[in-house]
């Protein structure tokens, strides 16, 4: 039933060596703490108390406190034991102060306060230790740091109780510190510091315990909110894009089911567009070679119903020679689509510092160059002529039965504009 038992069984068997120390503390720690506390209290009481009147009550009260603490420790609930001591020992201190004695009243009062302060400090230390132990245990599974109890936006079950315990410990420590402050003028425990210095110390402690986790928690929450906002925006952008593209195409396809050419064209265009978008290339403007060729491919595919695969290695801006290259590519594509018997066309574009090339290849029937009809030769000349006009070359490579390839080449650019 205790959290200690639950976490013991839930913990991985083979932890580091701190694990074994941990188990030791877990098993015997509470008993040791209770015994030490009991001895400390007895020692305090023995200081001139035993022989006095009223000693029966004092011993009885202390015995009850210690017994309760030991019993609590036995049942692995050291917190209850500490609570018992916190309740009873100040009472004992009070009794010490009130007992009939020859000593001056001021001395008796001081001794009572000493006992009380000592008890409070020890109790606070035990509570902090215990709280930290449980924090470490409860956080061990999640792999977070103990501070996550305060800073985590998603608290795990049991965090509340642990936090409460740590908070109580913090309050106890503050109380102890304030008592210390009250005693400072008479130099308790050799602390001769000034009131102001102690107050600053207390304030800093409180700030560290209370304010720092709160700030950290606020930061975590803020960053989570920001991430959520970004996610929402991103989702909106994706939704908007899919709506404008894929859903739009679906609608068009459903309306054009009677026209298989058109359906295929729509699907291929959408596929290309989606692939570009997925690859982060959605900003393809026709002012670059790649963007312009994409439009050319769409256009020829739409007009002539031939599937065209475009692969681009590198890119460059469109200047006059590149514009001619694009026009020549369009011609080559139309040519291949018209005479390739519907065979797929593959376009490879290579644009880097050394070269700008376009390969247009179809797996159509091919032809023998010498026997090309005049009309086709005209188209060919248009391609070759266009390229020659800007200092480039166009070669046509064809063979009966193994397709045709047109290779368009621009000379390397003179300046580094590309």
């Amino acid at each position: 039933m205790s959290t200690a038992d639950a976490s013991t069984s839930g913990r991985p068997a083979a932890r580091s060596d701190t694990g074994s120390l941990h188990r030791l503390v877990e098993r015997y720690g509470s008993a040791v703490i209770a015994a030490t506390l009991g001895l400390a209290v007895l020692a305090a009481l023995a200081d001139g108390v035993i022989a006095q009147a009223g000693v029966g009550i004092v011993v009885a009260v202390t015995a009850v406190a210690v017994a309760w603490a030991i019993r609590a420790a036995w049942r692995r609930r050291p917190t209850a034991g500490v609570a018992a001591l916190v309740l009873f020992v100040p009472l004992t201190g009070l009794l010490v102060a009130l007992r009939p004695s020859d000593a001056p009243a001021i001395e008796r009062a001081a001794r009572a306060v000493d006992v009380t302060v000592a008890t409070l400090v020890v109790a606070a230390a035990v509570l902090v230790f215990e709280g930290a132990r449980r924090l470490a245990l409860s956080r061990r599974q999640t792999g977070d740091s103990p501070w996550a109890t305060f800073t985590s936006p998603d608290p795990t079950p049991g965090d509340g109780r642990v936090a409460l315990r740590i908070g109580a410990a913090g309050l106890l420590m503050v109380a102890a510190a304030m008592l210390l402050v009250a005693l400072a003028p008479r130099g308790f425990a050799g602390v001769g510091t000034s009131w102001a210095g102690l107050l600053v110390l207390v304030a800093l402690t409180v700030a560290a315990i209370v304010v720092a986790p709160a700030l950290a928690a606020a930061a975590v929450v803020a960053s989570r909110d920001r991430a959520e906002r970004e996610r929402a925006l991103h989702r909106q952008a994706v939704a908007a894009h899919l709506h404008d593209s894929v859903l739009q195409t679906f609608a068009l396809v459903q309306r054009r089911l009677d026209d298989p050419h058109e359906v295929r064209r729509l699907i291929r265009r959408q596929e290309r567009e989606l692939r570009d978008w997925l690859a982060g290339r959605e900003q393809l403007w026709p002012d670059t070679l790649a963007g312009a060729l994409r439009e050319v491919v769409d256009e020829v595919e739409a007009d002539l119903h031939v599937p065209i695969d475009l692969e681009v290695l590198g890119d460059c801006p469109v200047d006059a020679p590149v514009a001619s290259l694009i026009d020549a590519t369009r011609e080559a594509l139309r040519n291949a689509a018209r005479h390739g018997d519907g065979a797929p066309i593959r376009v490879l574009v290579v644009a880097d510092t050394a070269t700008t090339e376009v390969y247009v290849r179809d797996e159509g029937p091919g032809f023998v160059l010498d026997r090309v009809p005049i009309a086709r030769r005209g188209v060919r000349d248009a391609i070759v002529g266009r390229m020659a006009a800007v200092g480039g070359t166009a070669t046509i490579d064809s063979e009966l039965g193994s397709g045709t390839e047109v290779v368009l080449r621009l000379p390397p650019p003179k300046e580094s504009t590309r």
Binding site: A279, D309, E405
Partner: protein, 220 residues
């Protein structure tokens, strides 16, 4: 078709797609098993001992790379042909590095898929035009003077890859370059090895430099 029917396991998380491929391959291959995620794939492959695993790149449980890594200690390791709707560069580079012999997209025609499976069974790389273009893009971004040997394609390898990207078959490339088809294959295998041999660090560095990963985890 040869008398021996290639034993194939299909790994894909879409049952409809598996059924489609199964129907397409039924004539030419013997489909000995199917799997829908990484764990299942490893189990099925161990049990069925196929010649070829047709492997989808995006799988629940770690993806194709996890399957390829899991296959490393299989007694009779099958050849792997990656098949995916994605042609993102990091997917291509990832599966090839992890040991797949080839990569084809799901739009591939049935006959071409059968041919690719048979090539894979024989241990020959399957380099489609698209994969060739990706590899070229990856290698070409490197300034030659900065690249070490692993980072560089030989002129011949580059030439072969360029022809593949232009859409030529191995046989056509052999004829055009006046070398034997076997030599073409050995050049492609050389490129494959270069992709696979580079260390993890080198490859992620390499990929980042070329803008392939673009913030994504290095695959492989």
């Amino acid at each position: 078709m040869s008398a021996y029917r290639t034993r194939v396991v299909i790994v894909d998380d879409h049952a409809i797609f598996r059924a489609g491929v199964r129907a397409e391959l039924a004539q030419a291959c013997e489909i000995v098993g199917e799997a829908g995620d990484v764990a299942e794939a490893l189990q099925v492959v161990r049990y069925c001992e196929p010649d070829v695993v047709l492997l989808d790149v995006h799988l629940p449980g770690g993806g194709a790379v996890a399957v390829l890594e899991g296959l490393e200690d299989v007694r009779r390791r099958p050849s792997v042909l990656a098949l995916s709707v994605s042609d993102a560069a990091e997917d291509v580079v990832g599966v090839i590095r992890a040991g797949a012999l080839g990569y084809v997209t799901k739009t591939i025609a049935g006959a071409a898929l059968v041919e690719a499976i048979e090539r894979t069974r024989d241990g020959d790389p399957v380099f489609g035009p698209r994969l060739a273009a990706y590899v070229l893009r990856a290698f070409s971004a490197e300034p030659p003077d900065e690249a070490d040997d692993l980072d560089r394609l030989t002129p011949r390898e580059r030439e072969v890859l360029m022809h593949l990207a232009r859409g030529y078959s191995y046989k056509q490339i052999a004829a055009r370059l006046d070398i034997s088809p076997r030599t073409v294959e050995s050049h492609v295998s050389g490129v494959l090895r270069k992709l696979q041999l580079a260390s993890r660090h080198e490859v992620s560095h390499w990929a980042a430099r070329r803008g392939i990963l673009d913030g994504a985890d290095p695959v492989g």
